[in-house]
Symmetry: C2
Subunit: 234 residues, 2 copies
Amino acid sequence: MSHLQTIISNFAQSDGASVVTTRADTVFVDLRQRIVEGQVPMGSKISEPELARHYDISRSTLRDALSRLEGCGLLERKANVGYRVVTLSTAKLIDIFRVRESLEGMACHLAAQCMSTEQISELKALLQEHERSESLQQGEAYFQQEGDLDFHFKIVQGSNNSLLIRLLCEELYFLVRMYRYQFGMASPRAKKAFGEHRNIIQAIEDKDGELAEILMRRHIAASRLNVEKRMNTQ
Amino acid sequence: MSHLQTIISNFAQSDGASVVTTRADTVFVDLRQRIVEGQVPMGSKISEPELARHYDISRSTLRDALSRLEGCGLLERKANVGYRVVTLSTAKLIDIFRVRESLEGMACHLAAQCMSTEQISELKALLQEHERSESLQQGEAYFQQEGDLDFHFKIVQGSNNSLLIRLLCEELYFLVRMYRYQFGMASPRAKKAFGEHRNIIQAIEDKDGELAEILMRRHIAASRLNVEKRMNTQ
DNA sequence: ACGTTTCAAATTGTCGACAATTTACGGTGA
DNA sequence: TCACCGTAAATTGTCGACAATTTGAAACGT
């Protein structure tokens, strides 16, 4: 299974019972993807009549989809004015990193306590797969980055805390992916990140929740510091 | 200013630019309150036609409000079936505590770094006010509990991280209030909680982010352990 | 030329009706 | 009596139209 396939399958299953049935669902998923990838430019105004025509649906159906996208933080709404695609900024990115530090740290802590041996095996297999493909096509930072998100995704799933899972996998991670697509910061930390991932897995395997949490927090903080450093030099 | 007034004003200002303009806004705020207070019983099915009649609005307008309530985690939706009021459970409450531990811990950390001296003074004044009214009408656990949330509210506001503020003040805290109203667990920790609040403020005043975070996490963890203990004895 | 006002076009908010799906209930058969 | 099925009622999904508000530009005055 390729990285991209893994990602797609994981995000699909993250939607829970989202065997897409309704039209609004379809539009929600499609528009979400288009926003994440920047096909709908960030900061741009959403024209309901235009979008409704584009998808060949009514405004009611479209608005249903839009309200859900607002819940993901991808759209912002102002009464009597309408929706806009969220405008990313370095400051907001740092805010997101801080939230990820705390939430994923906790998720990692819980995952260490309750992941099954089978889940841990899957995690290790995922890491190995990433390392293998990294050695094959090194420098292909794009896949590595999405692969990184896949790794984090699996750990959150292992936390067994549905609120955490919802907040991270169904909301925040789409914003994160949006940043990666559009700020495209090819991380110079790819190599280091692998080692950090390995250590995190080890802590989880040892059922050492406290250590796992600390390692995960540092892992994410390192990315944040990277962004902060770049911000200051500009 | 009484506690209740403080609470209301804080939550009002938390809605940001929510100078209620649209009908859906009004219904959203009102229904949110009714759900939190249990006037709309938890787990109950939302009948769109019935609710629309009750508020004398169309289903479109109602659905706008409902979709926002879903974003707060107060309603759950299933395609082709409709909305239900969320069903609270001890397990979910513990999930919430874990998220609060991590998020509010981080908020407290950041607040220690960037709260202004004026903000800190306000925080101290709030604590004093709580202590005063506590000594006056001790045992009135209800006010203390809402007051406690008010305290946490102010710290989160001081974090200067709008994502944190949104996640906690505009989403999670309504769920927390719902639990307090409906599970009505009069905390036996009231007295202890005051001391913990005082120590947290001290750490913030000392700009000791790490300590402030640890203290806040322990403060919330203590409530969680309280619930877990009660759960096991039943 | 600049700021203000006015009015028209476009957009969002709201409504009621119809279509598609689910739910409830009564009937049929074993 | 119980399980299964089919039809009718109720509910949600979707649609197009109208009302309220915002936006943009033209007209006006200074």
